[in-house]
């Protein structure tokens, strides 16, 4: 009769003890790892054992009983959906965090609030310049007041130089950080690849390698901060009918992403590496991905990137170029901080370049980033300061350079006579309203009386080259002109001749009042003044006075900062919540483990009790049966 085995029950007891022992081991493992970062709680998988098949001579009175418990393995409790949500939040968090830290550095330089006794530093200096011009206005002809204006202007341009230098330093620091980030990402990708190798080998040999998987998950979490990724597990045959899971990490792609925006970063034992594109200069800090390689250097194709030129399309082997908007995360945030110039963006970046050969559309250059005009990074603020310096210099220089005219508006010669338009003298005179052709300019230059001179230049030592080689003034090179510095040129008090001589009256302040008015009147700031090929290069992006422009730049920065901080707080809160939920599934809870301890200890004791009972029962059978009359 089947199913009756004298010593079979010992196996059951032994298996029970073993299962309880294993479970206690796992519980102990969980408890000791309660503070390990990234640890996922484990549990023993048990299955009840049934040994037996169909007996040819089975009877319906046979009773088949199972033979105990089998430990089929140890598994982790982890919710992959929460992992996906967490990693998506991490990408947004990384993006905002990197952006905010860059904006904070900019704020520390450009924020004028509560500096300079509350008047701001550059703002305060502008106010001081106006005060000195007001003093000069009331004291025309006294050179010491001109010197006061010059000193104030000198302080102002020094501030511009100083700020431009600090902005350059921030940019350089960000570049260093960016390179370090790329190195970190590359080392993470390499480590993930190596872990994939180890996990694969372990799994083939039957070891689920749970701790290695935890380490790998930690690395993937870290990677998701740098760029948004999609993580997949695909099943591959490991041979002999055994299949194992293989990790594939891909770039998640973005709404403005190009054809390579969903490239594979890691495919099992093969991984790519990021690198800066090898072009000089690499203004956009463009990135390339190397080929999918394993530790031996052999390459495979990327199944997600297909070469459309072949038919059917084949996966591409080898390196790839990433577009401007293919990434989303802290790397992209740093790139945007380093490259985005807002209103000063080049037209070719937003609209592309039309085909050089009209009959061949492929010679056109596509746009790099159609949304670039609304993104502002360090270059925008550098160019904004350049724009302000350039406008200040050009307004002052224009107001301070003129030809002498009379009260009716005619330009006059050294005798005080109006200069006629031509030699006949019958067609009228050159006036302030006349459009000056090159000929008329020559005539004026030969006959007229030139007054004043440039007050601001790019720091050159020879002002005579200003006419032939006009200066390109930026915040880092703006300075008081050499002539003003040595006193050859002073602020021009008037451009109109007096009643008694072919020269302005000594205390006529009409040009100084004009300058005063210019300090507070509206000017048009156009991108083309700073970047010749900018988008909408001739449309003003701001109309206002110098100080209003400064205020506007601060407002743009602070609004950006405020909105980024708000978004960061949101993402941080969501990320924390998901993290806590993740912990809820995979974290170790002492109450749980304590209950498990009690439970498994009791089942261990019960299994031992079973063993003892069997032992006693068999003792009776072996030693106490068939010994009649002994």
């Amino acid at each position: 009769m089947k199913g009756v085995s004298t010593f079979g029950a010992f196996t059951t007891a032994r298996l029970g003890i073993y299962a309880a022992q294993k479970s206690l081991d796992v519980t102990g493992h969980n408890i000791t790892n309660i503070n390990t970062q990234g640890y996922t709680r484990q549990r023993v998988d048990q299955m009840s054992l049934r040994v037996g098949g169909n007996d040819r001579y089975a009877s319906s009175y046979d009773t088949l009983v199972g033979s105990g418990v089998l430990c089929t393995g140890v598994s982790q409790l982890r919710d992959p959906y929460l992992d996906i949500r967490f990693r998506n939040e991490q990408a947004s968090l990384g993006m905002m965090d990197a952006k905010l830290s860059g904006l904070e550095e900019l704020t520390s330089i450009l924020d004028e609030v509560s500096k300079g006794d509350g008047n701001g530093i550059i703002e305060g200096q502008f106010n001081d310049l106006v005060t000195q011009i007001q003093n000069l206005n009331d004291n025309v002809g006294k050179e010491e007041f001109d010197t006061l204006v010059r000193s104030s202007a000198h302080s102002l341009v020094k501030l511009f130089n100083n700020y431009a230098e600090k902005l350059n330093t921030i940019k350089d620091n960000q570049v260093i950080g960016f390179n370090q980030d790329i190195d970190s990402v590359n080392s993470i990708l390499t480590n993930i690849r190596n872990l994939n190798d180890s996990i694969l080998k372990s799994e083939i040999h039957g070891d689920p390698a749970l701790e290695l998987k935890d380490q790998r998950n930690l690395l993937i979490d870290e990677l998701s901060n740098y760029t948004k990724i999609n993580v997949e597990y695909k099943s591959v045959q490991a041979g002999a009918g055994k299949s194992v899971d293989q990790l594939v990490i891909r770039l998640a792609g973005t709404t403005d992403g190009g054809e390579n925006s969903q490239a594979t970063l890691v495919d099992g034992s093969y991984a790519r590496q990021f690198s800066l594109r090898d072009v000089t200069p690499n203004y956009n800090y463009d990135l390339d991905l190397s080929a999918l390689e394993n530790s031996n250097g052999s390459q495979i194709a990327d199944e997600n990137i297909l070469d459309s030129s072949t038919s059917p399309a084949t996966p591409v082997v080898g390196s790839l170029s990433l577009g401007d908007c293919d990434l989303y995360g802290s790397i992209q945030a740093t790139r945007e901080l380093l490259t985005e110039a807002g209103e000063f963006t080049l037209d070719s970046v937003v609209n592309g370049i039309s085909a050089t050969d009209p009959s061949d559309p492929s010679t056109a250059t596509p746009p790099i980033d159609p949304a670039a005009a609304s993104k502002r990074g360090i270059p925008y603020y550098q160019k904004a300061l350049d724009s302000l310096s350039q406008k200040l210099a050009s307004v002052f220089n224009e107001a301070n350079t003129a030809y002498l005219s009379d009260a009716q508006g005619n330009y006059v010669n050294s005798s005080g006579e109006p200069i006629p338009l031509d030699d006949s003298g019958t067609s009228g005179n050159i006036t302030k309203d006349t459009t000056l052709t090159p000929e008329l300019q020559e005539r004026l230059k030969d006959n007229g009386i030139k007054l004043g001179g440039a007050l601001f230049t790019d720091g050159r030592t020879d002002d005579s080259t200003l006419a032939t080689d006009p200066p390109k003034i930026t915040a880092s090179n703006i300075s008081i002109s050499k002539s003003w510095a040595v006193g050859d040129v002073r602020i021009l008090n008037s451009t109109v001749m007096g009643a008694t001589a072919a020269a302005p009256n000594a205390t006529d302040n009409s040009n100084i009042v004009h300058l005063l008015n210019l300090m507070d009147s509206k000017h048009s700031f156009i991108p083309g003044d700073v970047t010749a090929d900018a988008l909408d290069a001739s449309t003003p992006f701001f109309n206002g006075s110098f100080q209003q422009f400064l205020s506007n730049t601060s407002v743009v920065l602070s609004n950006d900062y405020k909105s980024t901080a708000t978004l960061l707080n949101n993402y941080d809160a969501t990320s924390n919540e998901i993290s806590t939920n993740r912990d809820g599934i995979s974290g170790v809870d002492l109450n749980d483990e304590a209950t498990n301890l009690m439970q498994y200890q009791k089942s261990y004791a019960a299994a031992c009790r079973l063993m003892t009972t069997l032992d006693e029962a068999l003792e009776k059978l072996i030693n106490g049966t068939g010994a009649v009359g002994r």
């Binding site: 503070n35 609030v113 701001g120 205390t507 009042v513 602070s558 939920n581 912990d583």
Partner: protein
């Protein structure tokens, strides 16, 4: 959440504690700096407004200091014109009453000397300076405005004040030569009388000072005269210039000088006029001196009115400046009572959070197992 785990609790506690700590930090900063916001990003709208107010405050301070210096200058000018008026009045009385009437005829010659020195005194009074600038020199204030020419004529910045007279002079006050239409009557008259044109130009000179009337330029790029204060005073506007329809000078000093010459020519003992023309001229000039005197009196009154205007403008600017200052304080300065209350509350919340932390790691089943 399905399960509350230790690490979940720790993470949530840490992030909430950090938030509480941040709030405490912000509240403390507000009390220490006494400002409503310490960076642009904290309140961009208020910061923009505050900087705009500060800019306006700085401009108003400049305008106030301009105004104060103008008041002093105009008061000096007013004093000089008052003494000029008195001198001219004296001369008019001397010439009018004492020299014309026959009983006092013998005093004519000495009177001539007196009138001559009166003319000198008037010129000195009008060559007065204020802070190294000549007040009555119009736009050329580094040099004295009035001087005597070689032929005894009074010169204003090198031009004889008695210029003009060729052709028929059009009616009315001479307009600004810069605004005269080409080919018009005045344009022709000015062309024929270049020195008179120069005098007219000098009488219209401007030196605009910003005293808070909204400095602005018109479409030609010239300052709008209503938006600034003209501080240029031309001495010839006070004493008058040019010749009248009889060919006699309008300038008070010139008239006094001529009278003085006539009286000096009189006989030293009898006081008789040198000739009949002199007698007629003396009577005529005496009347014209009265007209010149009334012109000076008008000018003195209007100068006084301008000085009064400057004083009331000073009050207006001072009040405006105070009001702007209050606005700035309202925007920037924190109400300390509120700030301290907020700080106390934030500190209390932070201490409570710390206290929670003591019991964060509550006991578990393991502590109760034996």
């Amino acid at each position: 959440m399905l399960r509350i785990t230790t690490s979940g609790v720790m993470r949530t506690y840490k992030s909430n504690l950090m938030r509480s700590s941040n709030q405490l930090y912000d509240a403390r900063n507000k009390v220490l700096t006494q400002r409503n916001f310490n960076s642009y990003a904290e309140d961009p709208a208020a910061a923009t407004q505050a900087f705009k107010m500060r800019r306006i405050f700085s401009r108003t301070s400049d305008q106030l200091s301009n105004n104060t210096s103008l008041i002093s200058r105009f008061e000096s000018a007013s004093t000089a014109i008052a003494s000029t008026k008195n001198l001219v009045e004296e001369a008019a009385n001397d010439a009018g009453l004492r020299s014309i009437s026959d009983p006092t005829a013998s005093g004519r010659q000495p009177l001539g000397e007196v009138l001559s020195s009166t003319a000198e005194s008037i010129v000195q009074a009008l060559n007065v300076q204020y802070a190294d600038s000549f007040i009555f020199a119009g736009n050329d204030a580094l040099n004295p405005p009035f001087s005597w020419g070689d032929n005894g004529n009074l010169l204003f910045r090198g031009i004889s004040v008695n210029s003009g007279g060729v052709g028929v002079r059009p009616e009315g006050t001479p307009p600004n030569p810069a605004e005269v239409a080409s080919g018009s009557e005045w344009d022709q008259y000015y062309t024929d009388n270049p020195d008179f044109k120069k005098l007219a130009q000098m009488s219209y000179e401007t030196a605009y000072i910003d005293i808070g009337n909204g400095l602005s330029e018109d479409s030609n790029g010239d300052i709008d005269s209503a938006s600034a204060f003209n501080s240029a005073i031309s001495g010839i506007n006070i004493l008058s210039f040019g010749l009248d329809e009889d060919g006699d000078p309008k300038n008070a000093v010139s008239i006094i000088k001529e009278l003085s010459d006539i009286l000096k020519r009189c006989d030293s003992e009898s006081g008789a006029y040198a000739n009949d023309e002199d007698k007629v001229a003396a009577t005529c000039l005496t009347d014209k001196l009265q007209k010149a005197l009334s012109s000076i009196t008008n000018k003195w009154t209007s100068m006084d009115a301008e000085a009064q205007y400057l004083k009331s403008n000073e009050e207006r600017l001072t009040e405006y400046s105070n009001s702007i200052n209050e606005q700035i304080l309202g925007l920037e300065q924190a109400d300390l009572a509120d700030a301290i209350t907020d700080f106390s509350w934030a500190q209390y919340c932070y201490n409570s959070a710390l206290k929670v932390g003591n019991s964060i790691l509550s006991q578990s089943l393991i502590d109760y197992m034996n």
